[in-house]
């Protein structure tokens, strides 16, 4: 395994983790609709218990995504988290609120009341996907940072990564195209949440309400996603010279990437088709409840393809609009060959982890959740 191969391999793994995370945002998407899909206290409890069986996977994937990025691309970890401070902090605050909301909301002694924690879930359900989508959009549109490694020995301060404005990441939300992807991810999370409810909750009222909501969530998602995709493919992108590492703007860089990496383009098309198949079949057929699977798998493939398009083929995946040459590429931001190789060995564990997650998930989900189940003491 050459150093170059390891760099590409780790970008693939990080992209895959990011893609799985976007799929798992069905928990957030579902929670954002808690009060519109769930009309009574009992129905809301049903929904909370439905996403409550899965929230830990989303949470753990987010944490692992952070850890994997730290280990494989530490310069991204240090530059983005330390620079876009508020963007990440708000995301984290919303996940902190979520983490306790399931366990606490219906427990005796919860002096903040059930509603408070349900609203925490709604807040996380809206803020999480929205800001994560905005953060991912900066991979294509750029962020306002400067990296100067010599600062450690020559600078006015020793800090090598700095944000070029005082908003510390919130400026990402001033770019309309970042907002387009942010809202696309937000509506996607809702689509996934609804498909999940349709599959997981054995309750006619919730299923029919979810089907109705699916139409209103899918339309803006498709519209915003297609707009973002077309604009990204046609706009100039951030190209890196593999010999010198110099970054320059290249017209239609991301389209060129897909042409060069035809296999990524093919995967992207397959992913998008699967996403649409799951949505359309669920809308058309009143008895079809398995839409979460084609759409979910499609989301993983689509997002992974987009992230590969952002990083592979000598592209700066975390471009800087403040100083083009500070932009991060896979090659200039990755860990050493030794660390990437060591971590590549660790990555052998991933299929085992996925296998036991699948087995445990299957064991718990053999029977769909219903009102009878939440009457038992094991429920949240």
């Amino acid at each position: 395994m050459s150093y170059e191969f390891l760099q590409q391999y780790w970008w693939f793994l990080v992209s895959l983790l990011g893609a799985i995370l976007v799929f798992l945002l069905f928990v957030q998407g579902g929670n954002s609709l808690l009060f519109s899909v769930g009309q009574t206290d009992e129905e809301r409890r049903l929904l909370v218990n439905s996403t409550g069986r899965k929230w830990e996977f989303t949470f753990t994937t987010l944490v692992t995504f952070g850890g994997a990025f730290f280990a494989s691309f530490p310069l991204f970890y240090s530059t983005s988290f330390g620079g876009a401070y508020w963007l990440w902090m708000i995301i984290l605050f919303s996940f902190v609120l979520q983490a306790v909301s399931y366990e606490f909301q219906n427990k005796l002694g919860n002096f903040l009341g059930t509603r408070t924690f349900q609203w925490f879930l709604v807040i996380n359900g809206i803020v999480g996907p929205l800001l994560l989508g905005g953060a991912v959009a900066t991979f294509f549109n750029g962020s306002n940072f400067i990296v100067e490694k010599n600062n450690l020995v020559t600078g006015p301060t020793p800090i090598i990564s700095s944000w070029a404005n005082a908003s510390h990441g919130l400026d990402a939300l001033l770019d309309p195209w970042n907002l387009v992807l942010a809202f696309a991810v937000f509506f996607l999370a809702r689509v996934l949440g609804l498909l999940y409810f349709i599959n997981n909750v054995n309750d006619e009222a919730i299923r029919s309400r979810s089907r109705r909501q699916l139409v209103t969530a899918s339309a803006p998602f498709v519209l915003l996603f297609v707009a973002f995709l077309l604009r990204t493919l046609l706009k100039s992108g951030f190209a890196a010279d593999p010999a010198t590492g110099v970054i320059s703007m290249e017209p239609m860089k991301y389209l060129n990437n897909l042409v060069t990496m035809w296999y990524v383009a093919a995967a992207l098309v397959v992913g998008i088709v699967l996403v649409l198949v799951g949505i359309v079949r669920t809308i058309v057929s009143k008895t079809y409840i398995k839409g979460i699977w084609p759409t979910g798998i499609g989301v993983v493939i689509t997002v992974c393809s987009l992230l590969l398009c952002a990083g592979w083929n000598d592209t700066a995946y975390y471009p800087s609009t403040a100083d083009l040459q500070s932009s991060l590429t896979i090659a200039n931001s990755c860990s050493s060959e030794f660390t990437l190789r060591t971590m590549a060995i660790v990555s052998i564990f991933i299929p085992f982890v996925l296998a036991y997650i699948f087995y445990a998930w299957h064991s718990i989900d053999k029977k769909k959740i219903d009102k009878k189940e939440i009457a038992q003491d094991e429920a949240y």
Binding site: L75, V96, L152, V153
Partner: protein, 529 residues
């Protein structure tokens, strides 16, 4: 050179440290109970699996419910720590991310998924999976949590004792050279054993305290007695192991962080045959005048004990703060110890050498180097490797900055050790009464059981205070002081997030405690059998 680092906002450093301390301290309120209760409820469910008695099933489920409430807070407070290295310590994250990131990623891949997958089976699977699978899920939840502790303690130990790495002047960072050295560092092994066994003590104290409450109220007495027996055994074994591993930890500290040991002992002037300070009177709010030498007032020492513990030789030499600052004594390897001033000089030479090296490399990329310049570049590269050992010292302005705040280390260490000894005694007495006397009627033990629970948390947090305050001023021992590791964020931003965390975690802690109290008051639910 002199103006480097003077421009880092001092308040930003203080707030970043305060925020990390706050979030870590909060996180550590929940983690030890998770680790400790995991063992205890695992034993209880094993009893159920072997006997299939409804009693053990109800008992295991009762403790699992309490575990669940606490677990949620552990998860909520933990996510912040994972990302805080990046958000508040970005320079640190780049400088050592090549080494430090790996254990965090492995923790996620190997441990967190195990924990989160099987905790769901444990909570929701009682009627959905077989008894064997459920028991396995309960133990795997605990194993996942313990593995998670292993990797985060590997990361922490590396900050205390950086091994298995080398500095790469071309990438301006430290890079891993041996994963085995990092993952199995003796410091990590000691720290893991000591921390996990101390966490089991918290689990045991919690079990005994809750059970004592039931005995006082004369409710659920059978469950309380059996729980006390299991908690007491786990607690006694854990507190004995914690004492043993604590000795190993202190020995590690003596070898690798002698300044921390000197601060823990308030040992200003070292020497041979040093006594261990049992107690002394030190102003808790001011750094003592260690430079004046002598010993703290009203000191009572145990003869030769410090030398024995720190060097395994009753007559061994233990350096004090002034010895470490001024150097000149003979190290165990026969070399003469350098003074901190000399280390600062070497560190500054490394920084200046690195600066020149980078300039030459930039010139090489742009225009190429003359033969003399290329020779100079190679010389610098060689010198750097020699001077990098004390790179971090180059950022110190004065040798006094190398001394941690002694009173906090001194008192926190004594609180931890003193309470640790008390726990050994307590668990031994509890077990004696549980097996030989009528524990249900021994009210003073019930009261003691309740009183010791908060003391357990104080001891546990004190241990971390010793470990982390004793490491100051270093983010990474000898390599990077805290003020070089921070992010470029104005202090106002960090101050705001500090208070948000404070308000959020405090509110949620209050809710958790209230829920736990109500759950305990409600007691175990009787199943259909």
């Amino acid at each position: 050179m002199t103006n480097i680092l003077m421009n880092v906002d001092a308040a930003a450093i203080d707030w970043a440290r305060a925020q990390f301390a706050l979030t870590a301290i909060y996180h550590w309120l929940f983690v030890p109970l998770t680790l400790g209760l995991a063992v205890i409820m695992g034993i209880m469910e094993t009893c159920y699996y072997r006997t299939r008695s409804a009693f053990w099933r109800d008992t295991a489920r009762f403790w699992q419910r309490l575990f669940g409430v606490n677990f949620a807070m552990g998860v909520a407070t933990g996510i912040i720590l994972e990302f805080e290295f990046g958000t508040n310590w970005s320079n640190y994250s780049w400088f050592v991310g090549d080494i430090f990131g790996a254990p965090l990623a492995i923790e996620g891949i190997v441990a967190f998924f195990m924990e989160s997958t099987f905790v769901a089976v444990m909570f929701f699977g009682w009627k959905k999976v077989s008894a064997g699978f459920h028991l396995a899920a309960t133990w795997l939840t605990g194993i996942g949590a313990t593995l998670s502790a292993w990797w985060i303690l590997v990361a922490n130990s590396w900050m205390q004792y950086p091994v298995g790495c080398t500095f790469n002047p071309d990438t301006m960072r430290n890079e891993m050279t041996s994963f085995v050295d990092v993952a199995l560092s003796p410091m990590a092994v000691d720290k893991f054993c000591h921390t996990v066994t101390s966490a089991w003590i918290i689990g045991a104290l919690f079990t005994v305290a809750v059970s004592c409450y039931y005995l006082m109220r004369r409710r659920h007495q059978a469950m309380a007695i059996e729980s006390i027996k299991i908690g007491g055994i786990v607690g006694l074994v854990a507190s004995l192991l914690a004492a043993f591993t604590g000795d190993g930890s202190a020995y590690s500290v003596a070898k690798t962080q002698p300044m921390k040991l000197a601060a823990m002992e308030a040992l200003y002037d070292g020497g041979q045959s040093q006594s261990l300070t049992a107690i002394a009177l030190i102003n808790p709010f001011a750094q003592p005048d260690y430079a004046a030498g002598g010993e703290p007032p009203m000191r009572i020492g145990i003869p030769k004990m410090l030398s024995l513990l720190a060097t395994r030789d009753a007559d061994g030499f233990v350096p004090g703060v002034n010895d470490l600052l001024n150097g000149g004594y003979t190290l165990p390897n026969g070399e003469t110890a350098l003074s901190v001033d000399e280390k600062i000089r070497q560190g500054q030479a490394a920084i200046l050498g690195l600066k020149e090296y980078r300039e030459l490399k930039a010139k090489e990329r742009a225009d190429g180097l003359t033969t003399a310049e290329a020779q100079r570049r190679d010389e610098l590269s060689k010198d750097l490797q020699a001077n990098m050992r004390y790179f971090g010292y180059g950022y110190l302005k004065d040798k006094s900055e190398a001394v941690p705040f002694i009173p906090v280390c001194f008192y926190a260490f004594r609180i931890m050790v003193g309470l640790g000894m008390l726990f050994i005694l307590f668990f031994a007495v509890v077990l004696f009464f549980a097996y030989r006397k009528d524990l249900a009627r021994t009210r003073w033990i019930h009261l003691a059981g309740l009183a010791l629970l908060p003391l357990g948390y104080i001891a546990s947090e004190s241990g971390w205070i010793v470990a982390e305050m004793g490491r100051q001023p270093w983010a990474i021992q000898d390599m990077m002081p805290t003020w070089v590791g921070v992010s470029d964020i104005g202090s106002a931003n960090v101050m705001v997030t500090f208070f948000i965390f404070l308000a959020l975690f405090t509110t949620l802690l209050a809710v958790e405690i209230n829920i736990l109290c109500k759950q305990i008051k409600k007691g175990p639910e009787t199943s259909e059998g």
